[in-house]
Amino acid sequence: MTDLIRKSAAEMAAGLAAGEFSARELTDAHLERIEAVDSDLNAFITVTADDARATADAVDSARAAGKQLAPLAGVPVAVKDIAVTRGVQTTAGSTMLEGWVPPYDATLVTHLKQARLPILGKTNMDEFAMGSSTETSAYGITRNPWNLDRIPGGSGGGSSAAVAGFEAPLAIGTDTGGSIRQPASVTGTVGVKPTYGSVSRYGLIAMASSLDQAGPCTRTVEDAALLHDVIGGYDPKDSTSIRDGFGDFVAAARSKDVKGLRVGVIEQLEHDDFDPLVRARFEESLALLEEAGAEIVRVSCPNFEYALGAYYLIMPSEASSNLAKFDGMRFGLRVIPEDNPTAERVMAATRGEGFGAEVKRRILLGTYALSSGYYDAYYGSAQKVRTLVQRDFAAAYEKVDVLASPTAPTVAFPLGQKVDNPMTMYLNDIATIPANLAGVPGMSLPSGLAEDGLPAGIQFLAPALGDDRLYRVGGALEALLEHKWGGPILAQAPALEGGAR
């Protein structure tokens, strides 16, 4: 069983197709693993064992009947609890939505169901995806499988920890400022934030509409490409959905060819905020690519300096508006104050009690940035910085095919270290944010072990619609690094004892 869950999703799919094991066996193996180690990790808020087994059984029957199946049919997946699931509680990590059972499926969930991937459950996350450590969830913190006293990254710490901890071979994340890539970086896994509009946002509980994008969390680049194929595509229910123009992700991931590829290193992301070993692993990765025939070029993106500021204006502004609907009137929590419980006061009491500190902080900041007299100075200026960041990207992509930087400044930091200091927490996103502002795709994959023997990540960025370039360079680097390491990085992770806590 242990061998089964340590396979890549591609290997699992091949094994299922060859009849080496059944989808039911594969699903049961993962459910057993969750049973064994999730008390340590707390990667899941909800486990949907019965639904997962039912899907697996259906796949096995269909296969037995000789029916044509999607490539990943029968390979289990975990879904971040920000994607609504019909008939299954969806919380976004908040008390506000405890017990809320949506009457519809997110489009990407519909895609997973159509391709018959057994959904193991809903993964933990920072409340409303606001955080970089999965410490703000109302459903407890998630721990890093590499070190249970460290953060798994955020906001999608649950999805990445589940994948790194072999509870699921595949998971869905969402990335508003780095919430797929930064958890991937600190858990030694792969995370892709596709081009904005590549994966439908319909049914994803919105944080910042113009920044949010769902994507795959996996252990290999090829698996990410396979999952991206399942969840991506045009959706008429999302006005910002892109119709077409994407290359072949899976073929790109398998090509392992970087000859002539021009890789740009962003000068502005080479500074001392990044830990020495994180930078060392980054440089070594670049050297491997260069040896394999890639060309490494220094590029300057001068306006990236302002990206963090713009992000921490645009994101709270949009979030303050998107989260207004959580008011205790139509669904979710309702708190009734003792004296004079008017609608207005019930809304305020509900939001006062139902939201955690970080959510309140961002709503208030956003309310401020949009309020009369401040709009131009804050929101308006931030939108202009967005234009400047896009111009920086456009100029860079005239010289190079992809850009590279370390994904996050540090390896996984200890639980509790930054949760009470918002500014230091926000700085985690410094390298990931520009991609969200510009809508361009980004990928994080492991670059090696850095400080404290914990994994670090390297990030690649490509122009809009150039997601296939990420799979190409990522697949190639992954192969080079695994050759050097003698196997996947997760082979070096400590075994989880189970029930240790």
Binding site: S210, G309, G352, Y368
Partner: protein, 95 residues
Amino acid sequence: MSSEEVARLASLARIQLTDEELTRFAGEFDAILTAVASVSEVASDDVPATSHPIAMTNVFRADEVTRTLTQEEALAGAPEAADGRFVVPQILGEE
């Protein structure tokens, strides 16, 4: 930023805050706003604003009825419901 200012924002955003939260947020917001204020340094008049990362126009749907929720589905998550409607507390405001 003063805690009175935070209280005004909290009222606008319909969030009841404790005195402790008011004080804490006031302090934090000063630091955060100072950090983000740099955006105005480069946001000159000649730079257009970008509201959508991928520029698109005219995304429409046809005027055709789709599946609706049943009344039961609509009210399933309601904190309180009666007569097929959502029950909400007393509203002070305009008619």
